[in-house]
Symmetry: D2
Subunit: 374 residues, 4 copies
């Protein structure tokens, strides 16, 4: 049980033990179905495998414990499945696959849902910025190196907060989630049924197996990091501006000082971002994955990725909450006309680009795609 | 729910939500008792506060969620306690304290138990090394830059594995766990009852409050890191040596290759160590804690420390399991007499130093101290 | 003076103090010329500014020292330039700009050259792989978790080494290097002469100033990181395979053991990669850049980026040297026919994609573009 | 050439190529002399070796380049020395040693000087705090989570700045710098002449060789990190307080805004600290040093340690300069009597402990020890 401030209800639901096992079962079922579609295994075997995989696994936490006795959770899971299949179907289960194919593909299914939730949180934070129309011409004092610099209007800050968010959302939406299929040593590729399988799971049918080339995973971590950096930048600005009353937000309490207006959403966002970056480093600057499968660097992903996803969600959720309650106090300055116009024009261009993106729902998963294209 | 390979049953029990709330309650109760002993609050108030704090808090996970609405879990906890106390006693609850005093001191209580469990795991791994007597004169080929270097005996490797473990255990045992007490802005210190309180909790009565000087926390992270580095070094050596059959250990299975002897305990240790270091960085290279209390860098500890403790335990537990099943295959080399004697002598000295340390139980907590000195 | 193993002669030449000052001067000159082209300042002023900026600055190291007295090296540089300009031209120097505009744009000019050199090193390493034709059908024993797995041919490893390199080169080549121009508080944008300026410098005319949104810099760090990860993966595999004589490379010596064949190029690559990732983290997981300009997080780039570039170059250079001297020893295994064909087919597809990329020169800088399009 | 803001003149002088080679030569000479004292090699050989090692090596940068052709700089250095020695003496050079013994011991000599310089910088910063007597009772508004908290006097902040500095200096002074001597595979130890050698170099005669147990190096990195954290904490507080004029310091200029008072020493300190921590991670969270000598993790120290030392010095130097020019503006608050007294009392105790430490010179090197005990 991690501290609830470092996750969201929705994101923690993606990474329960039950969901992890469900994703593994879904990959095994889809593998069988795809191989049956392409005539590699009998349709009857795929039917039975699908049926057994659809049943809820009773004790997913114990399965994960057992997994570490044998090396990966796929091993006890296959034992369980074989115990519930006819001998004929059992022989066609997990055909030509290796455990890493199943584990990596299942993780991609969970990451699709991660990105879908992050996109929603990011759009929600963005809409909070869009809704600050009333404050747009409020005079502010800008600060460089934290020192008072020149007078401008809140439009300037709004533009510099919103524009990188739009970039971050576009980066989220440009990601692909590859299927993993390479077999025992990474020499299986390009079969017709891997295309079928990728299609069934709304994953990308990457030609070259990526057992030891973790670029696909790292690209996703970096896409999350860009969004987290955005959120932490805004959170930090809010905490700084709140220190002198230049902005106000939802505040927490204090046991010792009743007058305090602690900007706890901003604080939560900063704490989660710090945790995110530390965890993401476990993946992005991991040592090399050696030869044909790594001893440890691969397994570290199983621990880190769920926590990376959850801290990312917390960072964005918290800053979104802060922005939703934000009010701006006008600074006691006169904004020179050129400056005010410039800020307004920048904000106009940035909003124009952001608006359609913030009001669109992007499909990451097969289910979302089906709903949106129905 | 984190992956069970990255914790131990015992360590995860230290960091449940229930244990976290129990630790907070224990600190509030001890504060009241200590202030009563020293005449700062009435004994009757302390009696009542102690009684209410001793009751199990019903929904600790919800308390942590509520904590983030107000800023820290101490705020809703005090609301709950005051609701169960007479007005007279409620007025003496949390007297002169700030939430950080309670949260930091409670974390130290959990860290005491962390170190106690790590010490047990480390000694257990060390005893596995001690029990390798039968292999001590086995000829081995040493390797520098992984290239075959010179023949020696297993005693050499044993000495170089055991000696840094002894160092790491001594460092664990030399740590102090300070009480935090500074009040709202860090200007309360040196009261008689903080000494009483430290004594009651078997904590160190640090004179200067450490609200923004996290050296006490970082020292503990570094002590854990030294042990984790030791474990990962041995685990990595074992995985390398197993690759050519120079050693053998408990092995996991493979879905695709039945003949494989995967060194899964070594792998688990390496994966957990990688995760540990990433998380520890969130604390040890955090940005500064600003002015009189940090906005985020402090809160990040609430998330990271429980995971740091758990991944540390997993790293040491896993390598201990690997060592407990270890056998050494003799290399086809002749060890020159001088070399063999030198290795034996080094091992003798290292064992002599390690033996008393590995057979001693060190008390980290008040309860352990009472049992050992009874 | 850094250790020469952690750079290349060419890359260290990009990051001398003299080159840094030359880049700053080039940006000031191009700013004036572009503003003159678009009629914002007189052509005569631009002529004089260009002439004075073209002269070699005599003591660039002292300028950098002086820069820290005033805050940035642009301040003493402007003093120097004004001292050599007519009053009329001096009034048009650095017009509407802030120091960060000059420093960031100058860094992008140095990063363009960095990427050009990395591209050459990467292609050189790739060509060393292409030239391993003679070894392609050599039988090998693959290894997962370092344990012997299944027999295959060297084609399999070659494909898994070459494919991610091709990806990394494509990522290098897809990067853009943005001009920075935002003025004192980031509210200058979209002027006609910033387009002219970007065009003159072969930079990207990014619409929104990125004073505090470091995504453009971080994207470049991540593109380098992908190449460095590739190099370290191959280097690590080579060091592992050399440990049992499965491959041989150029070797270093040993003072104590004359028979040793230390794989020093692989070692150098691994050491440089470890240093690269640590330094890149200083940028990619930096704290937020606060409000309208950061106090420290921005300045840290001045130190880290030159070292990041140099360690990246060293990592790739070293693995390229290792590959250029690589020979493969056939394993004593029989490769099943299906496996051999599969490896050959994978290698065929990977080579087909890599070949045109490795034989092309990509233009990163204005000078390269002019030469290639002449 | 690194940016001069990230080093000091004195620290960069410790880590020139010439100094590195000089340190290697000093270790070889001391090894020979110690072996001669203990009768292991002839005195005449030691005399000649010492004489040749005392000569300035002409092209140290080329030696380091050549070192990477052979694996370590000790190899070409021994070639050079043997070329200048009689055959008789050459046979006694580098006797029983391995290159790592020389490289690691030489690094410890450079680290001794590093700590001596850091101690001076730390004491200098501490004395700047001591000299703020005039401001001690100045009323201030404390800030928790950056929000205004309660009124106190500057004594409170002074105490919380000075106390951790005293701790950090004590930690610097408690470090030991071990000799490395283990021979080719780490099985040489406890010889009489290693004690002699340690004594001659004012190093610690560690019994167990630490070729692959980098705890001695990491302990030194962590001692530096504690000082750097202190400096960055104070620097960050100063930059925050300067943002509203609560403190003032030496200021830099601005090209675009003449009125700005940029706190450039605080900024420099923060930038250097960020760089320090990134680099220190390259050592402290490095992967394991495998078997009897590491392939890369060891070599990364050669690059990182000089830069770690220099960024540490810059961090402390810069904050010392900021503190030396610091003035405190009284806040418009009334400090309650109890609070004022409490702050004064805390400051009194902290100053009393700090005073003797800040006025003492601690000997780190043999030369300093001789001077202080003369």
């Amino acid at each position: 049980m991690i501290d609830p401030g470092f996750t969201t209800v929705e994101m923690s639901a993606v990474f329960t033990s039950a969901e992890r096992v469900r994703s593994l079962l879904r990959v095994e079922a889809t593998l069988a179905r795809s191989q049956a579609i392409d005539g590699v295994i009998p349709a009857a075997a795929a039917d039975e495998i699908e049926r057994v995989c659809a049943a809820e696994y009773l004790d997913p936490e114990q399965l994960l414990v057992d997994g570490w006795e044998q090396g990966t959770p796929v091993l006890p899971l296959l034992d369980y499945l074989r115990g519930n299949l006819s001998a004929e179907s059992a022989a066609h289960l997990h055909y030509l696959a290796t455990t890493q194919d199943i584990v990596d593909t299942a993780m991609m299914l969970q990451l699709q849902r991660t990105f879908s939730h992050l996109d929603q949180l990011a759009c929600s934070a963005g809409r909070a910025l869009q809704q600050q129309q009333a404050f747009r011409s409020t005079p502010i004092m800008t600060r460089t190196f934290l020192q008072p610099a020149e007078a401008s209007s809140y439009d300037l800050r709004l533009a510099h907060w919103l524009s990188p968010l739009t970039d971050a959302i576009e980066v989220l939406r440009s990601q692909t989630f590859p299927l993993q299929f390479g077999g025992a040593i990474g020499d299986r590729f390009g079969q017709k049924w891997t295309l079928t399988m990728a299609n069934q799971l709304f994953l990308h049918p990457r030609f070259v197996p990526w057992h030891t080339d973790r670029t696909p995973v790292i690209d996703l971590m970096q896409a999350m990091a860009q969004l987290v950096r955005w959120a932490a930048k805004v959170a930090n600005d809010l905490v700084l501006l709140a220190s002198n009353g230049e902005v106000a937000m939802r505040a927490g309490g204090s046991t010792a000082m009743a007058h305090k207006r602690n900007p706890i959403d901003g604080i939560r966002s900063l704490a989660a971002a710090q945790s995110f970056h530390a965890l993401a480093n476990a993946i992005t600057t991991s040592g090399p994955h050696e030869l044909e499968r790594a001893s440890g660097a691969w397994h570290a992903e199983w621990f880190a990725i769920p926590l990376i996803a959850q801290t990312a969600a917390a960072t964005v959720d918290a800053v979104g909450r802060a922005l939703a309650s934000l009010t701006i106090a006008p600074a006691d300055v006169v904004v020179p006309p050129g400056r005010a116009e410039s800020a307004t024009e920048l904000a106009r261009v940035v909003f124009e680009r952001a608006n359609p993106i913030l009001s669109t729902q992007h499909p990451y998963t097969k289910e979302e795609n089906e709903r949106l294209t129905a």
